[in-house]
């Protein structure tokens, strides 16, 4: 029997290695897999590169991973959000690398990695400082930048419901980056509010099909 259910966030992240590339879903607090991030932070994993849209808020989740010194590099579009004081301190002290990527380019680079596309061209950021060092190529009279795929070792995502095969559904705007990150890593770990019986999720409405998910853990969220 296929059973991807894990008993705890600790168990689910127990073998994440130092130096991993970790994709993390969420947009600000909404959809951030906070309990999985906390479990990683408690393990004091080191030298992670994390790919996520923001830099965490407050002292839980991504913010806690930063505070615990787990993160060597942050790839994101917008590290400045209210409450992201930890990141700013590390950044000003030169203790963390930052790669700023336009929000849609993060999503597209991760999707490309998920789709076996090593590189693609996009207009976004052409002619701006974020184009520095990137190949420029003309198609049909317009110039585009070449962007490389991002592939994660691990993805941490948050869903509303999940089943033992790994199917996930979300709710409202907590969906955001979660299904994208879920496709983008060798090992995808999902925290959900509720584990449901196999077959309970309608095949028409599953957003992240089982194939992308390796582990599912039901957590009691702090801010449920």
């Amino acid at each position: 029997m296929i059973n991807k259910i894990r008993e705890s966030a600790e168990e689910a992240v127990a073998d994440v290695k130092d130096g991993s590339i970790v994709l993390i879903g969420g947009f600000g607090m909404t959809g951030e897999p906070q309990e999985l991030c906390d479990a990683l932070a408690r393990r004091k994993v080191r030298d992670l590169t994390i790919v996520t849209n923001n830099a965490g808020s407050g002292e839980a989740g991504i913010g806690r991973m930063l505070a615990e010194g787990c993160v060597a590099k942050l790839v994101c579009s917008y590290p400045r959000v209210p409450g992201s004081t930890v990141f700013e301190e590390l950044y000003e002290a030169g203790k963390i690398d930052l790669e700023i990527v336009p929000q849609g380019t993060i999503a597209e680079r991760v999707r490309a990695g998920a789709a076996g596309v090593p590189a693609f061209y996009t207009r976004t950021a052409w002619g701006t400082p974020l184009a520095e060092g990137k190949e420029v190529r003309e198609f049909d009279g317009k110039e585009y930048l070449m962007e490389r795929a991002i592939r994660g070792d691990v993805a941490l995502v948050k869903g509303l419901k999940g089943d033992r095969w790994g199917n996930l559904v979300y709710t409202k705007s907590m969906r955001n980056f979660n299904p994208v990150m879920a496709m983008g890593a060798e090992m995808t770990i999902a925290q959900v509010k509720t584990v449901v019986e196999l077959g309970e999720l309608d095949p028409e409405v599953i957003v992240t099909p089982s194939i992308f998910v390796d582990r599912v853990v039901e957590v009691e969220p702090m801010n449920a």
């Binding site: 600000g28 917008y78 849609g104 950021a125 400082p129 974020l130 979300y170 705007s173």
Partner: protein, 226 residues
């Protein structure tokens, strides 16, 4: 001379120019106020880059749902006909040219339409771009809402930008506190300016070379508390 528009009035004036049926993305900051200033009888589909089409401003007393927020991470609600999707699909909409309008803030707009809105010079804080660069090239029309001048009086509509760019030649219209200005193939054309202001006064407060439209009108907005 009429008072310059406040932020809500600028948002109201911008909302006024967005026709029924448009799909519109609103940047963080003043542009998000367009959501509240859209006439109730006008059906507009608002896109939020975090995976929403059909969002709507909360009415006073509406419950706030932390799982239903806009790109500024503030709570919203949904119109009938709205839909949720993930970030890759959301930015496919943005980058594939599917949005009719985006409304963005600006530090500088150049007379060729160059936009700078993400990074101030000599900033010690970490850079942050969000979805601005995606939107600048993605939407069919890029509208900008910004004060006409910075607090130190320097113009935001300039001959040539000095700040790090968000996108080149992308801005189509600018709504400021004192004027509405189109970027056209022939340069910057003033469509509206506040009552009592002369064209010379407006030009003095502007870095770019302006031209006054033959059919220019006074810039007006209802009283709105900002």
């Amino acid at each position: 001379m009429t008072q310059p528009l406040n932020r809500l009035q600028m948002a109201w004036r911008c909302a006024h120019d967005i026709p029924e049926g448009s799909v519109v993305n609103l940047g963080v900051g003043i542009p998000l106020a367009v959501l509240d200033q859209t006439p109730d009888d006008r059906e507009i589909i608002f896109h939020s880059e975090n995976g929403i089409l059909g969002m709507k401003a909360l009415d006073p007393g509406d419950p706030e749902d932390p799982e239903l927020v806009n790109a500024g991470k503030r709570p919203v609600k949904m119109n009938p006909g709205g839909a949720f999707f993930h970030h890759a699909d959301s930015f496919l909409m943005v980058r594939g040219g599917h949005l009719d309008y985006t409304v963005l803030g600006a530090y500088e707009v150049a007379e060729n339409g160059d936009l700078a809105n993400w990074r101030l010079p000599n900033s010690k804080t970490a850079p942050a771009v969000g979805g601005a660069m995606d939107l600048a090239y993605g939407a069919k029309q890029v509208y900008v809402i910004c004060d006409h001048n910075s607090k130190d009086g320097s113009p935001k509509i300039v001959k040539k930008t000095e700040l790090p760019l968000t996108g080149r030649e992308c801005v189509s219209r600018v709504f400021t506190d004192i004027a509405v200005i189109d970027r056209t193939p022939d340069g910057m054309v003033v469509r509206e300016m506040i009552d009592g202001m002369t064209f010379d006064e407006l030009q003095d407060r502007t870095g770019a070379t302006l031209r006054l439209a033959n059919d220019w009108k006074p810039l007006e907005a209802p009283d709105l508390d900002s």
